[in-house]
């Protein structure tokens, strides 16, 4: 039973356009969400987070939106750059101190 789902295994976007990566979760008790980016041969690196008390968090080109009623969050990257090509993981936790549950990831390819 996958508690965190990323239903698009891959996504291709033209450089300069918007990339939208989606994540759905099943556990309504999740209170904190993270996005990680992973390049080949490297470990995941933290990208952006959002608490369940917010519906939006922005950091430069990256914005995460949370829709609690739909149990859905999305990561927007504007404008997309070739260096953004990586695997993106969505992760969620139930409460402080609990481990994060990761989704299967979405491979983003930004085409020049």
């Amino acid at each position: 039973d996958q508690q965190v789902k990323q239903n698009s295994p891959s996504l291709s976007v033209q450089e300069g356009r918007i990339s939208i990566l989606n994540c759905d979760y099943t556990n309504s008790m999740f209170d904190y969400f993270l996005w990680y980016k992973k390049y080949p041969a490297e470990g995941p690196t933290f990208l952006i987070s959002i608490s369940s008390i917010k519906d939006k968090n922005e950091d430069g080109r990256f914005t995460v939106f949370l829709n609690k009623s739909a149990k859905h969050l999305s990561l927007h990257i504007v404008p997309s750059q070739p260096g953004d090509s990586a695997v993106y993981f969505c992760a969620a936790r139930r409460n402080y101190g609990q481990n994060f549950v990761f989704g299967p990831g979405t491979r983003l390819s930004v085409l020049p």
Binding site: L34, F46, Y96
Partner: protein, 113 residues
């Protein structure tokens, strides 16, 4: 500053064998967590250690064990290897027990034949 380091980078073992993976956290970090990432899936939590004590355990069999040393480095041991144990094993370190501020190493790729 050195990040999280893991050794070895790659490892090939035979079914039934035992393996030990090593992790050195970022200097000053007292917490180390271990994850298993099977191809096509996200990292799955195995253990967390903080100040040499186990603070969290994921849904893995007793064949998996770990420990943390006084210098905060850590080892993950897997006994009686199965083909399904083939995966990328990731180590992450953090200052405290909260998993939010964790930094991942590059991982050890384990292949069981």
């Amino acid at each position: 500053d050195a990040g999280v380091t893991q050794s070895p980078t790659h490892l090939i073992k035979t079914r039934g064998q035992q393996v030990t993976l090593r992790c050195s956290p970022i200097s000053g970090h007292k917490s180390v967590s271990w994850y298993q990432q099977v191809l096509g899936q996200g990292p799955q939590f195995i253990f967390q250690y903080y100040e040499k004590e186990e603070r969290g355990r994921g849904n893995f069999p007793d064949r998996f064990s770990a420990r943390q040393f006084p210098n905060y480095s850590s080892e993950l041991n897997v006994n009686a290897l199965l083909l399904g144990d083939s995966a990328l094993y990731l180590c992450a370190s953090s200052w405290e027990t909260d998993y939010y501020e964790q930094y991942f190493g590059p991982g050890t790729r384990l292949t069981v034949t």
